[in-house]
Symmetry: C2
Subunit: 335 residues, 2 copies
């Protein structure tokens, strides 16, 4: 059983997911070759993954058979396990609990070589609806407080499989980063009685130097204080704290801007590794006037070294205004 | 001039250190070959670095000539610059200031191939005294609030030069991580009227399952909630919030345990990349009853991907109790 442990000073939770029988040198980072060979996410290999929990596009045929467009399965090597009680426990001044949670893989396309930003908007829409569907479903489990949806693309960003996929982790604790955002946004709201993200969007639209692209419902910006070159945030223009409450029309607009933003990034730096993370309200939360759901896309370009670890702040060699200019021009340049 | 920018929600400061004339693809991570070739940190090449700000061991001879044991120079490619005013400025809801600070390199030995943990204790002592010396000196500059001392060892941990060195950055803001620690420790102190780190040391000595090694004045533990396999903290056993106030006797004991701890790590995983960071009180602080200076050593083993970025928490495949057992046995095993 994995364990959740809390740092007593920072309040940060970490997961101890013991891999048994390993020697110290087994923890060395290895360059895995993920190209070629057997792919457990391809159609025909459905029996090599745990049983699917959600599938879109298979009109006929049995569960765990081909014919699907998007397929969600539990992670075969989960960081947290779904069965059991939390059993919160103190150990002197330390706190821990059982590593209860869900860890799922969203297989974004049946085609091994499809790149996420190249999927049709209708197909990308299904991926975003699958996120929604799973968040709603996992939100019915009282043990969980948050569902973290993320994607690792490229080996440098942590992807261990080539076949296009994203992941989600349902957690019994609120991630520290989300908690900090909620606190920061609430402080601003108490002072101004306005959502800070709504204010950011207003200022970005007015200044128009960090806007990458927009449509009627969403906007992509390079944030004022980005951690890495080409970091992008995608936000709904109208206030909403709950990703899972977006309508189909909204999800379609999100799919469009998401693909466009990633295509712009790819046009600047072909095949760049990146992570994206959904930031949304906690499970079973009331609608929050101070919080605004959004996606953060962080390319993996500069390495994170001692300075960043120690200080929690980052050195970025590219101003977001310049990054936005590159991203704006990028598609025009190649077309 | 670099810029310091604050994330309006999180309060996190980042440095925009523009590198002029770069194209987007120039930001791609490259595998630099740092072996062989010209080394600007070797004796005889003193004229290729900025002028030294501190030197130990050169009894005769001019400044910036060979004959030194430890040499401190400004970083040739500094993330922050020393000359200028802070000029704090708002831009709508955003905050920024000039990227004023110091960025220095501590060259730990004249010998290109010396590994840090293999230096004699007397030599390592000089390195730790150089940290002290520079913190005190930079603390006289009212513009600075913190000096962050850190080391990147190995390419995967961000080292761009092979010659053994550490770095320091003097900052006009308090790093977010240190601020969080100060806040967490103060909350505990208000409740218990005891330093949380002192309590941690007491509990670790009693439980004796995460102690790696100790001497009369210092202790090395694997923390209860470590981010990575083999993460280690080195703390003074007696309460002290100020690294720069340690006596020579204390620094000597620190040099001893530091070398021993790194040798134990190296015996477990030969040549493993790592970062260490000094966590100490802010500049010109009064002695703090709730904070305890320490070093955190974080091996670079697992890659940080979307989950960790998004959540601010970590999946660690090795329990610290097992890591401590390996580290305890390691030197005995190879001797």
């Amino acid at each position: 059983m994995p364990e959740l442990r809390k740092d007593p000073v920072l309040g940060r939770w970490i997961i101890i997911a013991k891999e048994r029988g390993k020697r110290p040198t087994d923890f060395i980072l290895e360059e895995e070759d993920t190209t070629g060979g057997f792919c457990p996410l391809c159609p025909g290999n459905e029996n090599t993954t745990p049983h699917e929990v959600l599938v879109y596009g298979r009109e006929y045929g049995e569960a765990n058979s081909p014919g699907w467009k998007v397929r969600v399965v539990p992670n075969k090597y989960p960081a947290l396990v779904i069965e059991g009680e939390l059993n919160r426990e103190g150990q002197g001044l330390y706190d821990k609990m059982n590593g209860i949670g869900a860890h799922e893989v969203i297989i974004e396309s049946p085609n091994h070589n499809d790149a996420f930003p190249e999927l049709s908007n209708e197909h990308t829409f299904l991926v975003f609806r699958a996120f929604q569907h799973r968040i709603k479903d996992l939100g019915c489990d009282d043990r969980f407080r948050y569902v973290l949806v993320f994607k690792n693309f490229g080996k440098a960003a942590g992807a261990s499989l080539e076949h296009s996929h994203s992941q989600l982790v349902a957690l019994p604790v609120l991630p520290r980063k989300i908690e900090s955002e909620l606190t920061g946004a609430l402080t601003y709201y108490k002072f101004k009685e306005r959502c800070i993200y709504c204010d950011i969007i207003r200022q970005e639209l007015k200044q128009d130097v960090r806007v990458v692209c927009k449509n009627e419902l969403f906007i992509t910006i390079t944030p004022f204080a980005p951690r890495t070159p080409f970091e992008m945030w995608i936000l709904p223009i109208n206030h909403s704290s709950a990703y899972h409450e977006q309508s189909d029309e909204q999800l379609m607009a999100l799919a469009e801007i998401f693909s466009e933003s990633l295509c712009r990034l790819d046009a600047c730096i072909p095949n760049v590794p990146y992570n994206f993370v959904l930031h949304t309200e906690p499970l079973r939360s009331e609608s929050l006037p101070h919080y605004h759901f959004h996606f953060e896309i962080v390319p993996k370009l500069t390495s994170i070294a001692g300075f960043e670890w120690g200080s929690g702040f980052y050195i970025n060699p590219l101003a977001p205004e310049e990054a936005a200019a590159y991203l704006r021009e990028s598609l025009e340049r190649i077309s």
